[in-house]
């Protein structure tokens, strides 16, 4: 190990549409070390990685590679300087052979250069052998298993002479034997002098593979420690350690009848299994878990997008089959999806058409749309939700993110649902709009709506929910009452192996 770090990032800040993803974070990586990067969902890990790989540019701060300042880093430039990233989902060309994939990653030269196929094969063979991969350079990438594809990516990175390797959750879908092989390869890379940034939610891996660990929280660097000096409990404390502010207007509402009940419900195609859950009128049930834990998949199952194929779903005590969103809407279930810009509202349609889209039958008389009533209803929701728009005829595209979210919410309130599923209802919107949506959720619960809220924000989960269900691997692994839930307990369950 040398004193001069391989990478030194200082004071990095980055905001997306007014939301601060990184807030003066710093990070240091030495040659010949594996440096783990941990933090909750939304702590800023991905943003940091995307800045280092040149995918996005920081608003503020500096990055030094070998003591040299990198300004206006592009992905091409980052690659040229030996920075490579491997993601959970391998970024390969599925139709090409392993050798071609490796060549595309590491050959230099113009588009008109001549290609030496046998040299490509030879080099790919050597690289694959070096990392202990047991497939041929001629194998078509899409025929390889997930761990093999990851090894292919690593071979490509080594072939490009990567000195700084970023691994984002590389073990998430690997078996024990594959993990062992991967760690051996990482160890060899480290011994060869490369620096590895290792992102993982599997905290128990870190003592095995990492030399140091840095904890990010709310876009800031909280601590960097040598791995032997820190234990799991301390890590979790550092990850969540924040005050729960009193901004959540939690109201005490006596829960009513059971609106939605799942008994051992699951969906094989989306990986949700054995979910037993009860949601009562007037209750807000928070669904916590890491990204990929199956929370959105559960919501999509309840809403009929990927229909349940095992277990039982009951609405107001009656067993039902939900095969399509239309079925769900008929049963009084509403789902405000996560990616509102793409799925929550239809940008090309005016606010009024967006408001009535899920309840068109309601607004039709003898088959004809009642445009007057549509206008009135839209105006009503614009006033009630405080939507800032020029008029109800303005296209949704002209609204800000927070206001689009309110339009998406208005659309579902117009269906008069008994069960409202909110998927990351305040993600990426400004503080003011966020508080308004929280207040509104309280109002709706008070009116007797049953609300299932998916959120990756711990304060939101703990602040808004009456009960909290924690998901991992497509299952519910724990259920807390509001009083007994703490950030540590929720995260501990979400992370546990």
């Amino acid at each position: 190990m040398t004193d001069n770090p391989l990478l030194h990032a200082a004071g990095l800040s980055k905001a997306f549409a007014g939301v601060q993803a990184l807030d003066g974070a710093s990070f240091e990586l030495r040659s010949g070390e594996v440096h783990a990067l941990v933090g909750e969902n939304g702590a800023g890990k991905s943003t940091l990685i995307r800045i280092i790989t040149g995918a996005i540019e920081a608003d503020e701060g500096s990055i030094l590679l070998d003591g040299e300042t990198l300004s206006h880093l592009t992905p091409q430039e980052a690659r040229r300087r030996g920075i490579a990233a491997i993601y959970q989902q391998p970024q390969i060309f599925p139709e090409l052979s392993a050798a071609e994939n490796i060549a595309l990653g590491c050959e230099r030269g113009g588009l008109w250069r001549l290609i030496d196929r046998s040299a490509r094969r030879r080099r790919a063979g050597q690289l694959l052998e070096r990392i202990g991969a047991r497939f041929s350079p001629d194998a078509i990438a899409s025929d390889l298993t997930m761990p093999e594809q990851q090894l292919l990516e690593i071979a490509r990175a080594i072939g490009a002479d990567a000195r700084l390797l970023i691994m984002d959750e590389p073990t998430a879908s690997l078996t024990e034997a594959d993990v062992e092989n991967l760690f051996r390869v990482i160890g060899e890379l480290r011994d060869g002098g490369a620096g590895v940034i290792y992102i993982s939610h599997r905290l128990e891996e870190l003592p095995v593979i990492a030399d140091r660990v840095t904890v990010l929280r709310d876009g800031r660097t909280i601590a960097t420690r040598a791995m032997p000096e820190i234990d799991r409990r301390e890590l979790i404390r550092l990850m969540v350690g924040r005050e729960l502010s009193a901004v959540f207007p939690k109201r005490e509402i006596e829960p009513g009848v059971t609106a939605l009940e799942l008994r051992g419900a699951g969906c094989t195609t989306s990986g949700v299994s054995d979910v037993t859950l009860e949601l009562r009128a007037g209750e807000i049930l928070g669904l916590a878990g890491l990204v990929g834990a199956g929370r959105t998949e559960l919501a999509r199952m309840i809403f009929g997008l990927t229909p349940a194929d095992e277990g039982e779903i009951r609405v107001h005590g009656e067993g039902v089959r939900i095969e399509s969103p239309a079925d769900a809407i008929r049963l009084g279930i509403a789902y405000v999806p996560e990616d509102r810009r793409r799925h929550g509202v239809i940008a090309e349609l005016p606010v009024r058409a967006n408001t009535t889209l899920a309840a068109l039958d309601e607004f039709s008389r003898y088959g004809f749309l009642d445009l007057g009533r549509e206008r009135d209803t839209a105006a009503e929701y614009v006033a009630r939700l405080g939507i800032k728009t020029a008029s109800v005829d303005a296209e949704a595209a002209t609204l800000s993110g927070g206001n689009q979210q309110k339009v998406a919410l208005g659309r579902w309130l117009a269906t008069k649902p008994a069960v409202l599923i909110l998927d990351e209802p305040t993600q990426g919107i400004d503080i003011g709009a966020k508080a308004e949506i929280h207040r509104l959720m309280g109002d709706l619960a008070a009116e007797g709506m049953a609300i299932l809220m998916i959120s990756s924000e711990m304060p939101e989960i703990l602040g808004m929910s009456d009960r909290i269900a924690v998901m991992r691997g497509g299952r519910i692994v724990g259920l807390f009452d509001r009083a007994e839930a703490t950030p540590e307990r929720v995260l501990e369950l979400a992370l546990k192996e």
Binding site: A17, G18, F303, L305, S324, P325, A326, A328, I329, Y335, P337, R342, H343, G344, V345, I346, A347, E348, L349, A353, T356, L357, A358, L360, D361, F363, S364, G367, F368, L369, L371, E395, A397, T398, S400, G401, R411
Partner: protein, 316 residues
């Protein structure tokens, strides 16, 4: 107002063209010429109306020319067999729905890209027809076929009236019926529409059936203009219809556009040829000018898209 910029642009171009003609060659506006123009273009307007639905859904149908030919021959054969004209009309529309349903199944259920599916249908229908008729025309039609047996004036009036009625009904369908709203929603974002409880497959299927029905109706009223039915009707009709829709400001990617724009686009493309003749311009320029108009419409769509994105960024 902003939302209808493209439609207004097409209408303005039409107005400018008509004004020029009015100044230089006022005889263009004779009743006889106007009637001819309306009659000649009524069938194409009906097809362009259906095409507006298809393109709004984010699809395309290039088999309408072949569907038109099949429907024309069907009309001729059935009339010759002695069916009364209303029965012929009904049978032809059913035939059109069936052809549209095949397209609909290919695109909506089997998820074949519409340009490929309808290209196949275009070739299959055209060549099946050639094989069946051996290129022969349907001749010796009963007297009640041409002009519905009512003479040119009344028959012509019925044809233009039919086109306008279909057009008006379509405006109503698109603007005032839930299904029309669903067409816009699916065209703008199929996944977002699905999340709102709309079944995009059903909408897409329905739109192709509707396209087939309108094409067949257009073929029926077109055939009634003549005493014989040719075996090769409707060649190039798909391009004419798509051009009218695009010039009228409907986004080729779906989700945005109006039938009023299609009317302006169809009128502009219909008028330009005869107008050039009245202005004494070499008729060889007609196609080139039509192409230039289509290109201008597409370029303005790209430019407007850019401007809108900038406006969105600015408002954030």
């Amino acid at each position: 107002m902003n939302r209808y910029r493209r439609e207004i642009a097409a209408a303005a171009a039409l107005a400018a063209l008509l004004a020029t003609v009015a100044l230089i060659a006022p005889s263009f506006f004779s009743p006889a010429n106007a009637r001819d123009l309306a009659l000649n273009n009524a069938p194409a307007l009906i097809v362009a109306t259906g095409m507006t639905f298809v393109i709004l859904t984010g699809q395309i149908d290039i088999s309408v020319g072949s569907q038109f030919a099949v429907a024309s021959i069907t009309a001729g054969v059935l009339a010759k067999a002695g069916l009364p004209m209303p029965a012929v009309a009904a049978a032809v529309v059913i035939c059109g729905c069936a052809m549209g349903a095949v397209n609909g199944v290919l695109v909506a259920r089997w998820r074949i890209p519409s340009i490929v599916a309808t290209l196949a249908m275009m070739v299959v229908l055209r060549d099946a027809l050639r094989w069946a008729t051996e290129g022969a025309w349907v001749q010796n039609l009963p007297r009640n076929f041409q002009w519905f047996g009512l003479g040119q004036t009344a028959g012509g009036f019925i044809i233009v009236l039919a086109a306008l009625l279909i057009f008006a009904a379509s405006i109503f369908l698109l603007g005032r019926v839930a299904a029309g709203r669903a067409v816009y929603a699916v065209g703008a974002s199929s996944e977002a529409a699905r999340l709102a409880g709309i079944d995009p497959r059903r909408v897409t299927f329905g739109v192709f059936v509707w396209m087939g029905a309108l094409t067949a109706l257009a073929a029926f009223v077109n055939a009634a203009r003549f005493a014989e039915v040719p075996g090769n009707a409707g060649v190039g009709l798909e391009l004419k219809a798509i051009a009218a829709v695009v010039v009228g400001g409907t986004a080729i990617t779906g989700g945005r556009g109006t039938l009023a724009g299609t009317l302006a686009g169809a009128a502009l493309l219909a008028v330009i040829g005869p107008a050039l003749a009245f202005l004494g311009v070499n008729p060889y320029w007609e196609k080139a000018l039509q192409g230039a108009i289509i290109l201008a419409a597409l370029l303005s769509e790209i430019a407007l898209g850019r401007m809108q994105r900038h406006a969105q960024f600015a408002s954030r």
